[in-house]
């Protein structure tokens, strides 16, 4: 079992991972919680899910989260793999999973998962992380909160700057524009 960083409200904690990832070429172990590939889920899903264990899935960047729609309510965890940290497809997958498919379960970032991308992952709806760079929960949380403000709504609950401005304008804040460089 490997270690995971999990977000719990405004904290980040280290958690033991009860799930085991089973590669396609390996046999499914007799008991315990497992994570399988999309193709295995498609071919063996009903049998696996009916066996009294928790089942999760790991999607590669090219695989569409929409293909999970039918199984989603029965999945205990969804993992989105970052093949390389520069491959930004999992961010869109996460947004669709949270926003469009209404997935509320655990959403994990696995693969080439690095602290410098923590903000983007958290904002796109990931709430569990397997950092490849040995980041601690404190480091992870700090990296995800380097900005006091954000310019857009995303899958987290942060209010964008244009909402803050509205609150300020209605007397709930004290923010005034002034001349740049004055």
């Amino acid at each position: 079992m490997s270690t995971l960083i999990k977000l719990e409200s405004d904290r980040a904690v280290l958690a033991l991972d009860p799930f085991v990832y089973v590669p396609d070429e390996a046999e499914v172990p007799a008991g315990g919680d497992i994570i399988v590939s999309l193709s295995r889920l498609v071919s063996e899903g009903d049998a696996l899910l009916g066996a009294g264990r928790r089942v999760g899935v790991r999607l590669q960047p090219s695989e569409a989260v929409e293909d999970l729609a039918y199984d989603l309510p029965r999945l205990a965890v969804v993992e989105l793999a970052f093949a390389k940290f520069r491959d930004g497809r999992p961010y869109s997958s996460a947004r669709v999973l949270r926003g469009r498919l209404n997935y509320r379960g655990e959403l994990r970032a696995v693969g080439d998962v690095l602290r410098e991308q923590a903000l983007h992952m958290v904002r796109c709806g990931f709430d569990a992380f397997e950092p490849a760079d040995g980041s601690t929960p404190d480091q992870w949380l700090a990296a995800a909160h380097r900005y006091r403000h954000v310019y857009q709504r995303a899958a987290d609950d942060r209010q964008p700057i244009f909402v803050e401005r509205d609150l300020n304008a209605s007397g709930l804040g004290h923010n005034r524009p002034d001349e740049v460089g004055a």
Binding site: R89, Y91, R146, Y147, G181
Partner: protein, 540 residues
């Protein structure tokens, strides 16, 4: 001009603090160069031949004088006392040390400047019509929308690790001065028959090794729905573009592969599902941004100024300056786009005195003083001339666009600046240049086309032939509203032959031109044949 409020400025501060941490992690070896590279690129730092290059954003090409003075100060404090204004209205400093970069970014943030997303595979800083807010033929101020896009795209959680770079340009005038058809997304503000503001949305333009002109995917997008529509385009691109071959990862390739109809269908399907209410700005915020661009207060001026007419009558050189530069004041010189710290200070002084404290940078690498009274033009001219900034050559053969080329850039195959200089010397006689008329020459040192050679009436592309610099000529390109891509004339010529070849092209044009034709018009009418004959006869 948009004024950053406390929230905008806290974003800049947080960004430079973040980059300081990232640079420290790199300098201490905590992260690898591979991991650091996209982080520094998204903060404008390239590793070039001799040093780091810092690309500073000048959003929609507008600067106030405090900002221009700060750029001058940064260039003399951390660089060699000059900067290079680029075709994307950025300022590049070419001799930067990594350990200075966080301090530079802090200093820029103090005046509301930054280098955020000026490079990297993300949504780059947005460009707009350089005459925005100061031209009579626009139906809206495109900078309002450029600023809307800037805020939405800054540190975007989903679209910061795209397959490739992504550039957006906005124009609101009938005449397209922002070259929007050569962008990943071009936005043309129009009014519907009912008078509603809307966007024509064009997608898939680009230069580089596979040039395409953008195609229209929507004729009338309601203006208030802009961001949700951009979100849909970006999501389709982020999810569906290739990622296995860096040369085939721009959105132009996805559009060309799917066909514009299928691409449009996918965008529209995504847009129908995305949550527009969460993405599109509320009207109050749109109004707030718009209020920042309120027209400046001008005293009414007579259409003619006696002082101006008298000065023109007395000084032929000044008269030529007013013919070419009456809207645009050229930063010259031998190297297109380069300006020293002292020249930046002069421009800032003039803008304070005569142009409401505002300066524009445009994609032809010129600086514009957008609000000068006619009566003040002689005084401005005198001061520019003193500083070596009064070249009367806007749009003429010597007003050349060039990338930094092999003198600075690791990607380049050939030098661009010496070729520009040689041509400028060849056509140095201002009367001859004026007789030749509008003839934009654009030079790129490699196929990445930073010098826009596909869009030059004459385009020049540097190529490497067995270790020697050669130049491939092409004719007939335009980045305006009559946009077209230039066609290759024939075999590349050597550096020495290039000025002769340009001369042969010009002479051929002068022989063939009909009343009122620009070089571009003549090429379009006659085709390449007469020009081919002239260049390759002379070259043998």
């Amino acid at each position: 001009m948009y004024r950053y409020d406390d929230l905008d400025r806290q974003m800049l501060t947080d960004r430079s603090n973040e980059f300081r941490l990232q640079a420290e992690r790199r300098l201490s070896g905590d992260i690898t160069e591979d991991q650091f590279k996209p982080l520094r690129l998204m903060n404008g730092l390239y590793l070039q031949l001799h040093a780091y290059m810092l690309r500073i954003a000048i959003p929609y090409g507008t600067l106030n004088t405090a900002q221009l003075r700060r750029l001058a100060w940064v260039a003399s404090t951390y660089d060699k006392g000059y900067g290079h204004f680029t075709t994307r209205t950025n300022l590049q400093l070419h001799w930067i040390k990594l350990r200075d970069a966080p301090d530079i970014l802090d200093s820029l943030a103090e005046v509301g400047l930054h280098a955020i997303q000026t490079s990297g595979n993300c949504i780059r800083n947005v460009t707009a019509d350089p005459y925005a807010g100061a031209t009579a033929d626009e139906i809206d101020d495109p900078r309002v929308w450029a600023e809307v896009i800037r805020q939405w795209s800054t540190v975007h959680p989903e679209f910061s690790y795209l397959p490739r770079k992504f550039k957006i340009a906005v124009t609101a005038a009938e005449k397209d001065r922002a070259a929007i058809r050569s962008y990943d997304i071009g936005l043309h503000v129009r009014r519907t028959r009912e008078g509603e503001l809307s966007f024509e949305v064009l997608v898939g333009g680009g230069q580089g090794r596979t040039p395409y002109l953008a195609k229209t995917i929507r004729e009338h997008l309601p203006a208030g729905r802009l961001l949700s529509y951009l979100d849909a385009i970006l999501r389709v691109y982020n999810r569906q573009s290739r990622r296995d071959n860096i040369h085939k990862q721009r959105i132009k390739i996805l559009v060309a592969t799917l066909g514009v109809e299928e691409f449009t269908r996918r965008v529209e399907a995504e847009w129908a599902l995305n949550d527009g209410a969460d993405i599109d700005l509320p009207d109050t915020e749109l109004a707030r941004i718009r209020a920042n661009f309120r027209p400046l207060a001008f005293e009414p001026q007579p259409a003619k100024s006696q002082a101006f007419e008298a000065a023109k009558a007395a000084d032929a050189e000044f008269a030529r300056f007013t013919r070419r530069n009456v809207h645009a004041h050229k930063v010259p010189g031998q190297t297109p786009g380069d300006a020293t710290s002292e020249q930046m200070q002069v421009i800032a002084d003039l803008a304070d005195a005569y142009s409401q404290g505002e300066v524009r940078v445009n994609y032809t690498q010129n600086l514009v003083l957008p609000h000068v009274k006619l009566a003040d033009v002689p005084a401005v001219y005198a001061r520019l001339k003193e500083a070596g900034l009064a070249t009367a050559n806007i749009d003429l053969i010597t007003d050349i666009i060039a990338c930094p080329g092999l003198d600075y850039c690791t990607l380049a195959n050939a030098r661009a600046i010496p070729v520009a200089q040689a041509i400028a010397r060849r056509f140095a006689d201002p009367e001859r240049a004026e007789a030749i008329g509008e003839l934009p020459i654009k030079i790129s040192g490699c196929i990445n086309a930073c010098g826009h050679h596909h869009l030059g009436a004459i385009g020049i592309l540097g190529v490497d032939k067995k270790g020697e610099e050669y130049y491939q000529l092409s004719l007939g390109g335009s980045g305006g509203d009559d946009a077209s891509l230039a066609s290759i004339l024939g075999p590349a010529v050597s550096a020495n032959q290039t000025p002769d070849a340009i001369e042969a092209l010009v002479e051929t044009y002068l022989v063939h031109r009909q009343e009122g034709e620009r070089f571009l018009d003549t090429v379009r009418r006659t085709g390449l044949q007469p020009f081919k004959e002239a260049v390759y006869v002379d070259a043998h």
